[in-house]
């Protein structure tokens, strides 16, 4: 496969490509940043990227959003991924809220939200 072909494929699948890119960036933020809130934001970025990926699967060229009008016929997009992602978004916000409550408590106990400092205070281990 030549470079041009690859670029064309990536253009055709640009949502997938960018979703993967965002996923990697979010993952990177989550792994390398010591600030716990940054970790949580990275986690959200990662989740959103996956959602974008999922929504892109459901897209159909020329399709409309699946709100029916009785008696009218259109091409619609695939509604299933949208329905799934709604669930996903709520899951992400729940996890975020819980993670943030843990961070607030960690700050109260350790006086910092830096993972390395917390590790230093605890002595040993890694987050």
């Amino acid at each position: 496969m030549s470079i041009t072909e690859i670029v064309l494929r990536l253009h055709a699948n640009s949502y997938y490509f960018f979703a993967i890119l965002l996923f990697i960036i979010g993952f990177h933020t989550m792994l390398t940043h010591n600030n716990l809130i940054k970790k949580v934001i990275g986690m959200n970025i990662m989740d959103m990227a996956i959602f974008l990926f999922f929504v892109a699967i459901g897209y159909v060229r020329g399709g409309r959003s699946p709100i029916l009008e009785p008696g009218v016929n259109h091409a619609f997009i695939n509604p299933l991924p949208s329905a799934l992602i709604l669930t996903g978004i709520v899951v992400a916000v729940s996890v975020t809220a819980y993670a943030l409550s843990l961070i607030i408590k960690l700050y109260k106990h350790y006086g910092t939200i830096d993972a390395e400092e917390i590790m230093r205070i605890r002595g040993g281990g890694s987050l």
Binding site: M1, I6, R9, L10, A12, N13, S14, Y15, Y16, F17, I20, L21, F23, I24, F27, H28, L31, T32, A56, I57, G58, Y59, V60, R61, G63, P66, I67, L68, E69, P70, A75, F76, N78, P79, L80, P81, S82, A83, L84, L86, T87, V90, V91, V93, S94, V95, A97, Y98, S101, L102, I104, K105, K108, H109
Partner: protein, 89 residues
């Protein structure tokens, strides 16, 4: 050192994933395998079967309502976890 390692690791993932992306079915192609009998029935029959205009609402609260119950439960579990965590300390 650790950062480099992470970068390398992520680069490997990226390359693998891009190689996969190149192979994936094209976005929006109506011939894709995902546009099978499943969304067809949702779009064509949901009006008759559930009486809702919004297909996504009918999927969420009827065809796959159990997922949505799970979703409500996720919210509930988040509340329980947050409140218990905050109250305990």
């Amino acid at each position: 050192m650790r950062k480099l390692l992470v970068l390398f690791f992520l680069a490997v993932i990226m390359v693998v994933m891009v190689a996969t992306v190149v192979e994936m079915p094209t976005i929006g192609d109506p011939a894709n395998v995902t546009n099978n009998e499943v969304p067809r029935r949702y779009v064509e029959d949901s009006l008759r079967e559930t009486g809702a205009l919004n297909v996504i609402a009918s999927i969420l609260t009827d065809y796959r309502a159990f997922d949505t119950l799970g979703e409500a439960t996720v919210l509930f579990v988040a509340i329980a976890a947050v409140l218990s965590n905050l109250k305990a300390h």
